[in-house]
Symmetry: C2
Subunit: 215 residues, 2 copies
């Protein structure tokens, strides 16, 4: 990943200065592997990802990791934002983020009706996201992978050819599988002609068929 990151590249959505978040204009940079915050930390900020990819995860007792979410450019995260963090957040690639002080956000939400609605709406989306992941975990391995690829295709804005920013371990920890099972699922989908892949470059050859698996 080149370090020449276009900072403050206005996302497609023209930022209403009246947004409840009112993210700071100055972006903060994190290197790949660097930690934004850790489980148990006091929570001070909402984050908006300008560029790159971040994972939010919990460390489990058995030494494993449960990845709750991938965050990409444009995503807002850090909703566990009073008291302690429920998750750790780590940069998967080099990233730049903008932050918003939690307290100030809550003040704006309380003061302004539209701002309150916006925050509630964002929170509701967060609930739906978590619930969709719950549905994932009830499926078979190849279905989870299919669903994952479709989600990435949509969220990364790369309909046909995906360049996945995360490792097989990340995918496995997100889908509640082992890396071996994930790898086999990739192979299976490949042999079925539904995807093509040199490793992290995945081609979706038959999205409709993939979608059928996930329903």
């Amino acid at each position: 990943m080149p370090a020449s990151v276009p900072l403050l590249s206005t996302p497609d959505r023209v930022e209403k200065s009246a947004s409840v978040f009112n993210f700071d204009n100055k972006a903060t940079i994190y290197q790949a592997g660097e930690r934004l915050f850790a489980e148990g930390d006091s929570a001070f900020y909402f984050y908006k990802l300008v560029h790159g990819a971040v994972i939010c995860f919990k460390s489990l007792a058995n030494g494993r990791r449960s990845i709750d979410s991938f965050r990409f450019a444009g995503d807002v995260f850090g909703f566990d934002c009073d008291g302690e963090r429920e998750f750790s957040a780590v940069a998967v690639s080099n990233v730049s983020v903008r932050v918003a002080d939690c307290h100030a956000v809550f003040l704006r939400a309380a003061a302004d009706r539209a701002a309150g609605q916006e925050l509630l709406g964002a929170t509701k989306q967060e609930i739906q996201r978590v619930q969709r992941r719950s549905m994932l975990l009830a499926m078979k391995a190849y279905e989870r992978v299919a669903s994952f690829l479709l989600e990435m295709s949509e969220r990364l804005g790369q309909p046909d050819i995906l360049e996945l920013p995360m490792s097989r371990r990340d995918i496995a920890d997100y889908l509640g599988l082992t890396i071996e099972t994930v790898s086999r699922a990739f192979t299976q989908l490949d042999k079925a002609g539904l995807i093509g892949r040199p490793s992290r470059h995945v081609a979706l050859r038959n999205s409709p068929a993939l979608k059928l698996m996930t329903e």
Copy 2:
């Protein structure tokens, strides 16, 4: 069905502390098996369960059911409260609920700072609940059942002897297992001396040991 729907009643002279929900004092009754609302319905109300038990679930393509949550006396639910319902809600036993008009709640949340905080806090709790269920689905069968029993023990306020209001099918659909696997997990925990059980009356014989499984 929402036949006798109580509309915005008492303005400020409520017997309870001023809550953002301000649930109507008049309770609505549903018989066991009756539906409060269905997936895809327009959402009009928040619900507060006065008595009984309710399940919130999604019907899946394969004819199965994914139970998102059990709701008991005192619980507030119906957070998928603008646009369409994400889940269906059905009474497991005879229940009585109090309702609150969504729009009115949002108005109060926008108007009053404490009310706004309360609604946000409740929504955040809802996120945490969903996330905890996600963690459930990553565990083994007997661990899920152990975790389930502890959750019920806590939420039903019955530390030692549980009287479960739901069927094995409900439990299975909540834990992402089959009824047979749930049954075997019960037997397994029974034989290990951790629980005792005539069917729906479960005794927790060793809560600390059960807790160890869930971590």
